[in-house]
Every structure is written in C-alpha cells, then in structure tokens.
Symmetry: C2
Subunit: 183 residues, 2 copies
C-alpha cells in the first residue's frame, strides 16, 4: 500500500527516499505515513519490480543522493490501483477507544484526566490542519503550477482531517460531561 503512496509522489517529480519521507510527514501524514527504514526498503523492492528506477547523484560533502523516478510500468500500476474501487471499510485500530471500553475498572478521575489529555491532542491536531497543513499545500500549489489539478484533492483530504478532529473534540466533550455528571 505504501508502494502506491510513493508512486503517487513520484509522479510529481523525481525524489530521494529522504525527500519522500518529508513529503509524507507534511501532507499524507494523517491518513498514511511510514518510517524512514520502511521507505528505503520499499523503494528498493519497487525498483526490482520495475516500477521505479534510480540514479545516483554524487555530492561532495554529503552522502550521495539516490534519486528515484517513476517508470511507465509504475504509472500503469498506480493508475490501475487508483481505478480499482475499495468496497469495504478499513479496519480501525484505536487503542484509546479499547481502553475506554474497559475503563469501568479504573477510578473516574484517572479516566477524566486521560480524556482531557486526548482532547488537547486533538485540539492541537485540528489547529495544525487549519494553519500548517493549509500553508504547506498553498505553498506547494504556488511553487509547482503543474500540480494545479491536484490541489482540489489535497484540500478534500485536508478537510477530512479537519472534520475528524472537530468530531473527536465534540465527542470527548460529550464523554467528559457524561462522566462528570455520572458521579
């Protein structure tokens, strides 16, 4: 799956593993991210599959850069994936909901403290979407005119993050109120 994300970014322009990691951190982070080590090993595998190819750019001071670019086979694989509809909901994994489900075992105050902490985390994340993420996208749109048609989709996914965080904050407020009232 990461594979397709990397292919997607490589349609923008040729990049190194390091660059790709930074792109992910700044844009798809909310719904897809990967560790540096996984990116490097996945790129290697993708090159063997023929989806991308690399060229070494020597650098005097710093380590040489291995710049990857997408091949025709890579483009075909990406487009094929993009057209293949997803017909199921993805399985969710939310440790804090699992904890909450069994939290009748712990003191009310401990639960409340954690819910308030969660609320703060989501508040920060919401703010990030509204300021930083927005700015990064506008900046990318301004610097790379050939990506103009992509900006609409970036914005739709950013809106999803924004709505998600707003929903979580509302839900946490409701949960906190229910627990406070309950005692």
């Amino acid at each position: 799956m990461l594979k397709y994300g990397l292919l997607g970014f490589l349609t923008y322009q040729p990049m190194t593993g390091y660059d790709l990691k930074q792109q992910m951190d700044e844009s798809t982070d909310y719904f897809w991210n990967a560790k540096q080590s996984q990116i490097y090993t996945t790129l290697k595998a993708m090159e063997q599959e023929g989806l991308i190819r690399s060229q070494i750019e020597p650098q005097p001071d710093r380590p040489d850069r291995r710049v990857y670019m997408i091949t025709d086979a890579g483009l075909a694989a990406l487009d094929d994936w993009l057209r293949r509809p997803i017909t199921t909901l993805p399985p969710q994994r939310q440790p804090h909901l699992l904890k909450l489900f069994f939290s009748a075992r712990v003191e009310r105050e401990v639960v409340l403290t954690e819910l308030r902490l969660q609320r703060e985390l989501h508040r920060q994340q919401l703010e990030r979407y509204q300021t930083h993420t927005r700015a990064v996208m506008n900046d990318a749109a301004a610097r790379f005119p050939h990506l103009a048609s992509d900006t609409k989709f970036w914005e739709i996914t950013r809106r999803n993050g924004e709505r998600y965080e707003a929903m979580m904050i509302e839900w946490l407020d409701e949960a906190i109120a229910a627990l406070v009232k309950g005692e």
Copy 2:
C-alpha cells in the same frame, strides 16, 4: 495490544477463543478486531506469560472447549495498561484517503462513483451502530447485571462510532458536491 482486549473480555467471565472472537465482532469491532487465528495464538502466548489459564471442557459431539480465565497477574497487567495514559494520537491508515489524494490522475466520474460507494458503506455502518450495536449492548446489560458499571463506557464508545460515521457522510457529501461543481 490485542492482549489487553482479550484480558478485558475475560474480566467479564471465562471464555473460549471462539467466544472471544464473537464478543469482538459484536462490540469492539469498530475500533479493534482480530482474526480467529491471531486470537488463538495470542491466547496461547498469554497463558505462557501467566496472564490467563485454561481448562479443557470435554464435549461429546463437538470439539472440546478450551476455556480461559484471567489470573491475578492478568488483572494486574490489565489495570496497569488502563492506567497508563496514551500521550500520542494513533497513526491512521486510510487507503481511500490516500487514493483520493492522488485522484487528479483519474476521470472525475470514476472518483465520484467511488465516493458514492463509500457514502453508502458509511451509511450502512451508521445504521448498524444505531440499531444492532445498541441492541447487543442493551441485551448484554440486561443479561449480566454485574456489568452494569461497564455499560456507560460501552455507550461512550458506541457514540464515537456513530459520530464518526455521521461525520464521514457529511464530508463525503461535501466532497461529492465540490467535484460535481468543479466541472
């Protein structure tokens, strides 16, 4: 992590791997689930760790049941986990958002068809929370009076599912409208 979910359910009553799978499917499914094979292997590992122990209940017709019950060490491990606050947001993995992010590459109609399909999936899931999940929880509460204090937390997590689906439907409507208008 699955480990703690299994411990949680085993505080309700002793159960088999099969029973645990059913419990998950009916209750924590939205934020945590596991395949049958993983449940069996995890239970085995947990018994070796001393968190649970099992007894075989012979059955004449059907395969013998291996019934697990939580140990004192298991209770301690569970409570320890429940009290340990989560200080980061969990990484999300949403394939359909990743696809959408790069969907400038495909025809508008293909994207719209997929968004409408997604909307229908979320609508069905919302309905499930509002009817089936609700009924299952009420039923469990009625049949097991000793779980009365847990019901409040079950309901809070169910509400999260409900809100999440409602949010996704709103967002999809917004996204569909933006794409329709865009052409």
